[in-house]
Amino acid sequence: MSAIPPRARGAIALDASACTSCMICVRECPDWCIEIESHTIEVTEPGARRPRSVAVLDRFTIDWGLCMYCGICVDVCPFDALAWVPQHHYPGVVPQDLRHGIERLEEFDVSDS
C-alpha cells in the first residue's frame, strides 16, 4: 500500500505555546472556521520596571467540517503556531466531532511533516 506523501495537507496542527491570540488567522479564514478565546494577564519579570500584558489562550477551535484546507491561516500566522501535517484519519460520528480544540490540534504530529 502506498504511503501518504510527507507534505500531504491532511490537517493543521497547533503549537499553542507559540500562539499569541492575535486573531489574524481567525480574521483571514474565508470559511470562518477558526475560533479563539483568550484573556490577558499582567506579568512582572524580575528587573522589569513595569508589568507586561501577556495574552493567555483559553480556546482555539478549528471546525474541520467547514475548513476548506486552503492554508491561509498557516501562511498568515506571524508566529508559526500553525503547520500542515499529513494526518488524515479523524472522521466524526457527529458534526461536533470535527470541531477540534487545543488538545486535539496539538496531538497532530508535526514531526511527521
Binding site: 499569541t20 492575535c22 486573531m23 481567525v26 470562518w32 479563539i36 483568550s38 500584558s53 501577556v54 495574552a55
Partner: protein, 160 residues
C-alpha cells in the same frame, strides 16, 4: 473605482448589433453573460461570438441601467442564446424582451432578489456570528474596528 471597458465592440442597439456580427460570419455563440457593476449603476451584457472558417472571434457588450435593465432577445438570430438569456434573467434580474420562454432555468424559487446581483445579501454571512469580531487581548495593541469581510454594512442593517 469603475471597471475599464471590456474588449470588443459596443453593440447598442443590441439586437441589430449582434445581427450585424452574425451577418459577418460570427454565427457561433460561445458565451452570453452579464456582469453587475453597481458602482457604475449598470449591468453589462457580454457576448462572445466565433467565426468557424478563420477561427476569428469577437466580444460585444452593452451597458443597461441597473435600475430597469431590459435586453432585447437575440434568440431570433441565435436560438442557442435562449438558455443564456433565461439565466441572465433569473440571476441578474434583467428583463428579456421578445424571449419565447422565460421559465426559470436553474433557480427553484425566483421570489427572492436576483442572486448574482452584488447587493443581494448572502444570508449565511449575515446570520453567522463572525468569530473575528472578538477583540485581540494583547494589551497595548490598538483596538481596530473590525467588521466581517464580505459583509457590507447595508446587509447588517437589513438583517436587523
Amino acid at each position: 473605482m469603475s471597471a475599464g471597458s471590456p474588449p470588443g465592440v459596443v453593440l447598442d442597439p443590441w439586437l441589430s448589433g449582434v445581427a450585424r456580427l452574425v451577418e459577418e460570419g460570427f454565427d457561433q455563440l460561445d458565451l452570453l453573460t452579464a456582469v453587475d457593476l453597481p458602482r457604475d449603476g449598470v449591468i453589462e451584457i457580454v457576448i462572445h461570438l466565433v467565426r468557424i472558417e478563420d477561427h476569428a472571434h469577437v466580444f460585444g457588450h452593452v451597458r443597461l441601467p441597473r435600475a430597469d435593465p431590459v435586453l432585447e432577445s437575440v434568440t431570433s438570430i441565435l436560438p442557442a442564446a435562449a438558455w443564456h438569456e433565461r439565466e441572465i434573467h433569473e440571476m441578474f434580474g434583467v428583463e428579456i424582451s421578445g424571449h419565447p420562454d422565460l421559465r426559470p432555468l436553474l433557480l427553484q424559487s425566483t421570489s427572492g432578489p436576483p442572486p448574482l446581483r452584488k447587493d443581494t445579501p448572502l444570508v449565511a454571512r449575515v446570520e453567522t456570528p463572525w468569530p473575528g469580531a472578538v477583540e485581540e487581548t494583547t494589551g497595548r495593541r490598538s483596538r481596530r474596528a473590525v467588521t466581517p469581510p464580505g459583509v457590507p454594512p447595508e446587509w447588517l442593517g437589513e438583517g436587523s
